[in-house]
Amino acid sequence: MSKPFRCNNIRLFDIEPVTLDVGAGQTLCITGPSGCGKSLLLRALADLLPHQGEASFDARPADEFTPESWRKTVGFLAAESQWWFDNVADHFPRGMHQSAKEMICQLGLDSHALDWQVRRCSTGEKQRLALVRLLVREPKVLLLDEPTANVDATAMTQIEKLIKTYQLQTQCPVVWVSHDDEQVKRVADEVFHCQKQPVVTA
């Protein structure tokens, strides 16, 4: 059931071509200074930005998917979560509320968090709820842009654990942008340093 994710010669704006391979159940961390294009790269992988080169899942290039099914396959979590309805629950498809509740509890949030109003949530709460919102849709790849950026140490541990659990269950490849060297050591199987001349190190 597990399948590899590959991006081949992805090139956008002035970023050097990037080639990455992430095997099933593997985690690739992307690190590097701010502004080196890590977020742009992830958005290109989710096919949200025009780019050259090609991403593929299970040896099927993105072009062979409809745009919607590609984005459902590769779950992209933006660094800053966006909310468009008044209530948290409205952002979750019906029928997924139960599994959402279980994940919400694993993240140390109140089990009634779904009933909250978005404008009363803190940035850290929104960050965690956005991860749940993504995972309940069961993507087959995870593209995570600093999933623990705005949370305290406890929440960080819980988030890492939830992602690892999901990855163990689904054997999904994970591309994880992180600024935190300690976190990279904990979660990465492979690290990609994003620089002017990007070099892949094992």
């Binding site: 949200l48 745009p67 984005r71 966006q82 468009w84």
Partner: protein, 267 residues
Amino acid sequence: MSVISLSVLDLSLVAGLVVASAGLSYWQKLAISKRYLIAATRTVVQLSLIGLVLKFLFAQQSVYWVVGWAVVILLIAGREAIARQQYKFLSGWSYSLSTLSIFVSSFSVSIFVLLAVIQQTPWYQPQYAIPILSMVIGNTMTAVALALDQLTTQTWQHQAVIENRLALGEGWQEAIGDIKRQSIRVGMIPIINAMAAAGLVNLPGMMTGQILSGTPPTEAVKYQILIMLMIASGAAIASIIAISLGARHLFDERHRLRVDRLRDSLR
């Protein structure tokens, strides 16, 4: 009842009121008297000239003159509709979009009414075709201007939200659906307000003009109703066309949000 013909002296008396009130605002340092006088002068000059143009067109009774005149005001309306928008589509797309939606809506509505309701021979009789077309074009222009402005501004401001919705696997139609609905609603607000308050708050200008020039109120009312309903359907059709095509153009073939197709004209 006959028309009381207005003389130049009559109009000069009213112009005196404008000059007096401009003096008042100058004295109050409202810094608006100059623009106010220029606008008043433009009204006098433009309407006088249009009176002469209409007199000429009515005398021709030619379909070519009517169509030529219609094309000219259509092109002007298309330009005016986008003239004061903050975010415009690149490479003339905004102009084409507004002109196309004004054209389809106002021409179809006007020609339908001329053929099915007015039923003059010839159907393009300038005395009917020209006022009807210009009323509908003028109002669809406003609807298109408001709706497109809403679409581009809201999309620009909420690009992160739209992208987040796309990232969760929503189709582009769904991701921009709220903004589309809101834009069409905004385009329709002026005519909906005008219809809801028609006759209660003030008497519509066209009807007032007809009554002053001697038409019985019941007849004037019928024409006013005709015009209001035409304007409403024209505005609805125009807003829907402009917003549907405009929203589609904000996404590319891979359904990516392409705000780079917009330009901020204030920067």
